[in-house]
Symmetry: C2
Subunit: 348 residues, 2 copies
């Protein structure tokens, strides 16, 4: 996109000393009552009254977490917010504010950053959060985005990773593995494009999985739904690194074991068909694919009637004593120890 | 430092999937009552009761903000925290927590990150703040550090940039220009070292200015002192980009003008002598050097007796009507319009 010679290109250097963040955020409106002062001072100021505050931070690095040859900047801005909000919702909290810092090389014109911030603004609107601060600086190479998300939660409602008990049910929202398979399709098309740049990609059969990769959503709706259903999970985590490793986090922090049932793992038909096409096992993809941003939680068995039959939830297993370990019960009813083989940013 | 073949080198990749932040922060203690949950869940949880919350974020990029050939990693970790705390204090607030995210290439061994975090831990101890979260990921090239600092302030005490009135006094803490001159000395020694690696640097005459560059402090003490003196500034900002541009920020936000007196600008003798040696005008250095992390604020004239004679404070000018503009009154009593020529990360 930034290779297009016909579009406007404003050098970042020409903007002068200050105010790039101010320029990029000038149309952002303040929606949260708790925001007293947003962008434009040494720090943002917020008033959360009696509620507890949750804070989480994530960094996205070009060449590691995203590839600008197929990730549009607007989607990237959107995704950078979503991955952080997902962590807030995983505390059973409501997201209220974010700060956004970017390091960017001079190869990016102002218009590219405006695209990025258009995605950030869209996410802020849809998820009803305020962008209250940030920093822009130059980088020697690519683009780095660091987001910190802030949220609020009633002290009685906060859900940690460490509250699961033996016999609790393990529940997941939505379906798994789609973002990973979307990435496989995009990587394949990139290779095809390298060989023949005139080749137009045919992506009609992959719309859902590509959207899950490029423009994921965070499950704000689930926090609201759980509240309405009167269900407080005993433990919760969001699925960013793959189901397997997230289950292991819950088990480790809660000091419990787990049986996960392969035949219960929710998969979209497009994931199944694309896995067949790529000759990849769909269970492996769901276990280790990552970037699903669904919520994984445990509930006491007595809460089961409250979620039973709800299309948002799938019971995929149950917790056991710690000594029983963590296992996948396959379709053939064999029991295999769970391993975390999720995507490892530092090994890449 | 990381070229030393004799020291331990643990590949980051060998650490396995998770827990690098956990490993690096495992000895960090929680000191703040407001910290309910620190590192180790999807998000940190805090309870600030009735106080307002301030949040600020800053990013440091290798090759832009620091040069590892003369910035020790421990000092760098310390500085990354300080520059953020400085923004919290500039709101007249107390810093309570930070999150730290780093992107790092595989050329850094674990031991290098441990050095970085030793500096972060030292700053956290000295400034009595908790490290409550973070993210570690790989970068394709250098080291990037993104810190978000959180603080609390009584709603009645928060000080913004926009409260200065005509006739208010302009006050600065400490002295200016030292960090910039420290950088000049370090850059010169680096060039000397390139020509003759056996040449040992002679830095005895520059200890103060080099420390101001490599290991700056944030003025937590000033927030306490102002409180004890019963002084609430009408506006405040920290000096990160040079006195000139910070004055312009206060004037712009407060819609006032300003006369700044050259002969009042506080300079350390080492700054003056090093400026003479480098044939640089010391006023230019104080106005545009940056990285001083002193506080610049305005007070009503009636508060003057409360700060008069206090060695922490220097009155350097006074605010005027907006139409009067912003001027430097030189030693020769000529009036020169102020310009912001501070260091511009995006023009480098």
């Amino acid at each position: 996109m930034i290779e297009d010679k016909n579009q406007n290109r404003t050098d970042l250097g020409s903007l002068g000393e200050f105010g790039l963040i101010d320029h990029l955020t000038k149309n952002f409106t303040i929606k949260q009552k708790s925001t007293i002062k947003g962008v434009g001072d040494d720090a943002a100021v917020m008033d959360f009254k009696k509620e507890q505050v949750v804070v989480t931070t994530d960094m996205l690095v070009e060449g590691v977490h995203f590839d600008l040859s197929y990730a549009p900047l607007k989607h990237l801005g959107y995704k950078a917010i979503i991955v952080n909000l997902s962590d807030v919702y995983a505390m059973n909290a409501q997201a209220t504010q974010v700060t956004v810092s970017i390091a960017v090389s001079n190869r990016f014109p102002l218009e590219a950053l405006e695209e990025l911030y258009a995605g950030i603004e869209t996410a802020a609107k849809i998820y009803n959060i305020d962008v209250v601060g940030g920093d822009t600086t130059s980088s020697t190479t690519g683009l780095i985005i660091s987001v910190t998300a802030i949220g609020v939660v009633d002290a009685k409602k906060v859900v940690y990773r460490n509250g699961a008990k033996p016999n609790d049910l393990l529940v997941v929202t939505g379906d798994l593995g789609a973002a990973y398979m979307g990435l496989q399709v995009l990587e394949r098309e990139k290779e095809v494009f390298k060989v023949n740049p005139n080749n137009q990609p045919e992506l009609d059969n992959y719309t859902y999985i590509i959207e899950r990769q490029l423009k994921p959503e965070a499950r704000k709706d689930i926090v609201k739904l759980l509240h309405e259903l009167g269900v407080k999970p005993t433990s919760m985590i969001d699925i960013s690194d793959g189901l397997s490793s997230e289950i292991m986090h819950l088990c480790k922090h809660s000091k419990v074991g787990c049986d996960l049932y392969e035949n219960k793992i929710p998969l979209d038909p497009q994931v199944i068909s694309t896995c067949e096409e790529f000759k990849i096992d769909s269970t492996t993809v769901a276990l280790n694919g990552g970037e699903d941003y669904e919520l994984l939680f445990t509930i006491s068995q007595e809460d089961f009637p409250k979620i039973k039959g709800n299309p948002n939830f799938t019971v995929i297993g149950f917790m056991k004593e710690e000594a029983a370990g963590m296992h996948l019960i396959t379709r053939a009813e064999t029991s295999i120890p769970l391993k975390a083989q999720g995507w490892n940013a530092l090994n890449n």
